[in-house]
């Protein structure tokens, strides 16, 4: 699906608003949108929300043999995906220019800045190292993907724990989380991308552009920096000329923003750690705001519980004895269960019948195959005598004559039973033969 075009009046309005130092969502020039970081129940899984832009990060690891020229270093792999869910204009399975650009920027920001100690990922030099894979999925697109993705990547990496390994002689032991606590990665610093959008050939500058601002911008400058104010990567796109002062000013702003975001990340990580330690509730479901109309959860309503017990006893005394209740879960089929009374689950029934049908089909097929196998020898000799070449063709209109195995098996030719024919129950072979003839 094509992207919704931007109308002239939107463009004009946006540019005029920027001239007046106003933004659509009421932010100031240097303001970020709200950043929210939530963690999944597993280690290494997080969702970062930057306003309405939303990125899911998931880290996984695997033991692999290292690259030949870097025998003692682990492997880092980054992959960002722009799914159609994020915006209808994204095409699935295609490497668009934007995607390539974002992926390269991410790699430069995270791998080339050496924020992860790759040597600590080595298990046996030259033989086994950890490969750490960071998958990022854009869930919703409202501009500034790169900032959200870089935050999601580094947060997921910080949150991730890999299984512990020990090496004794030639033996490598991999411990499950129950045996030994998984170990975090060693991370030197947290590089974070900060985007600056330029308008009117660099006259106006905005931090964290949203989707509509991105559409009218002339150029984009991305600075990746850590909290020690070390620039990890810098990229300017859009083909505008930037002055030295502008770049310096941007790097100063980036320094402030990165400091803020780093603090937020650390706070979020600490919170999650604390909650996990205390055994509280964590995971995405818990982090959904509950006091909104669109939320799934209901607010708890206070209930007067002063003389509940007496009332309950009264009700029980007055009520009729309960009807028989099935106390065990009724398991119609694996995966469906039902406790208590009520309507019967009809899904299980349907599936059952479908299964039975399938089973019948399966046995039918088996019977046919069995009979054909039995007669294979005869058939070959027959054909040999007829001096006709055996043609294996895929067309469905094959001549297939199947007789009951106890009858004379002279005429059986079965090389051409296609999958469809196998499925169909062949209880009336004579009829079938007629049909085939008619078709021919």
């Amino acid at each position: 699906m094509k992207e919704t075009p931007l109308s002239n009046c939107e463009r004009r309005f946006l540019l005029r608003a920027i001239e007046e130092k106003k933004r659509l969502d009421g932010r100031q020039t240097y303001d970020y949108r709200n950043i929210k970081i939530s963690f999944g129940t597993d280690y290494g899984c997080c969702i970062v929300e930057l306003g309405k832009t939303r990125v899911l990060g998931q880290v996984s690891c695997e033991l692999v043999s290292p690259k030949l020229n870097r025998a003692t270093e682990g492997i880092l792999f980054f992959n960002l995906e722009l799914s159609q869910m994020a915006a209808p204009a994204f095409e699935p399975g295609r490497q668009s220019d934007l995607l390539v650009k974002l992926n390269r920027l991410l790699e430069r920001c995270l791998r080339n800045s050496k924020c992860i100690d790759t040597e600590s990922l080595c298990v046996v030099a030259g033989e086994k190292v950890w490969q750490i894979r960071v998958d990022l999925h854009l869930l919703n697109h409202d501009g500034n993907i790169i900032d959200a993705a870089s935050i999601a990547a580094i947060v997921a990496l910080c949150h991730f724990r890999r299984p512990d390994v020990s090496v004794q002689g030639d033996e490598i032991t991999l411990y499950t989380p129950e045996e030994r606590d998984p170990v975090p990665l060693s991370i030197h610093h947290l590089p974070i991308c900060v985007s600056f959008a330029f308008f009117q050939q660099g006259t106006y500058l905005l931090v964290d552009p949203n989707e509509r601002e991105e559409r009218v911008m002339d150029g984009l400058l991305v600075i990746a920096m850590n909290k020690h104010r070390e620039i990890c990567t810098i990229q300017s796109s859009g083909g505008i000329m930037l002055l030295k002062d502008q770049v310096l000013r941007c790097s100063k702003i980036a320094g402030v923003k990165v400091l803020e975001i780093t603090e937020l990340i650390q706070k979020a990580l600490e919170n999650d750690q604390k909650v996990r330690k205390e055994g509280g509730k964590f995971g995405f479901a818990e982090s959904i705001a509950s006091q909104r109309i669109t939320a799934f959860k209901m607010e708890k309503a206070p209930i007067d519980t002063s003389d509940v017990e007496e009332k309950a006893e009264e009700i029980i005394a007055e009520a009729e004895p309960p009807s028989e209740v099935v106390s065990n879960p009724v398991l119609w089929t694996p995966g469906t269960a039902q406790i208590g009374e009520g309507l019967e689950n009809s899904w299980g029934d349907l599936e059952d019948s479908a299964k039975e049908e399938e089973d019948e089909d399966g046995t039918d097929g088996a019977v046919i195959l069995g009979s054909t196998k039995m007669d294979a020898g005869v058939e070959v000799s027959n054909i040999g005598s007829q001096d006709a070449p055996i043609v294996l063709s895929d067309s469905e209109e094959e001549e297939m004559i199947i007789l009951e195995p106890d009858k004379n098996p002279k005429k059986i030719r079965t090389q051409t039973i296609s999958a469809k024919q196998e499925k169909a129950p062949s209880k009336k072979p004579v009829k079938k033969r007629k049909k085939k003839k008619a078709a021919n």
Binding site: N8, F13, L350
Partner: protein, 247 residues
């Protein structure tokens, strides 16, 4: 498996066909079957075994029933295809019949004949403009469709612009539900907004709103208010409006 599902949906609907009149303004779910008042009288839910709904026979005399969005005629029956609240509108003249539809929450616009929409001209080819209205396909519009346009006097519509609406003002997108809410005849939001600033406003049924006030600041405020109104109760809204009126 598809067959099995449809069987379930059918049996479920058959068990629970509710009278449309009784579920007005209530939530209905896809697959549910509805009974119109006429069928209810003639056969009623009690007379099981009979097909519950006849759109053709005998209804014409009592007024025409129109299925709006979210409802679908399936043979003789009326099925719900979207989840949302069932609405009904009496016809202008006689009693009975009228329009039934389902109000649901969605952002994607599905073009419907007769809707007033705001489109963006994306291309001009010969006598025809290609207009994006938010649907799956672009609409095409003849240049003669514009007011005051003749074969000699062509309208000045530039590609990728909105020559007709005006060069200023802000176009933004909201959910379709909010548009319907705002376009309802007794909509309080619009009256309250109108008291704040003098404004020009255009609503498109495809979820687009164009708004223009005296200054950019005011236009921005209006756009943000309209967007925020969707998930606010009447009291919250009043508070916000009174606060805005002060400053």
């Amino acid at each position: 498996m598809a067959e099995a599902v449809s069987v379930v949906a059918e049996s479920l609907a058959g068990d629970r066909a509710r009278a449309a009149r009784n579920v007005l303004d209530q939530v209905v779910l896809p697959g549910e079957e509805l009974l119109l008042p006429e069928q209810e009288d003639a056969e009623g839910p009690g007379s099981a075994g009979e097909r519950p709904l006849r759109l053709n026979a005998g209804t014409r005399s009592r007024g025409r029933v129109v299925c709006g969005p979210g409802l679908r005629r399936y043979g003789d029956r009326l099925l719900v295809t979207k989840c949302g609240r069932l609405r009904h509108k009496e016809p202008g003249g006689g009693s009975g019949g009228g329009v039934y539809w389902v109000d649901s929450q969605q952002k994607r616009y599905v073009p419907v004949k007769g809707d007033h929409v705001i489109g963006i001209v994306t291309a001009k080819s010969g006598d025809i403009f290609k207009v994006d209205v938010g649907g799956s396909e672009p609409a095409s519009l003849s240049y003669l469709a514009f007011e005051g346009a003749t074969k000699r006097n062509r309208p000045n519509v530039q590609a990728s612009g909105m020559g007709v609406i005006g060069q200023d003002g802000l176009l933004f997108k909201v959910t379709l539900g909010l548009i319907r809410k705002l376009l309802a005849p007794d909509c309080e939001i619009l009256q309250e907004v109108g008291k704040l600033y003098p404004l020009e406003i255009v609503f498109g049924m495809n979820g687009r709103i164009w708004v223009k006030a005296k200054t950019i600041q005011q236009t921005l405020i209006l756009a943000n208010i309209l967007e925020a109104c969707e998930h606010m109760t009447a009291d919250q809204r009043k508070q916000i409006f009174s606060r805005l009126a002060e400053c």
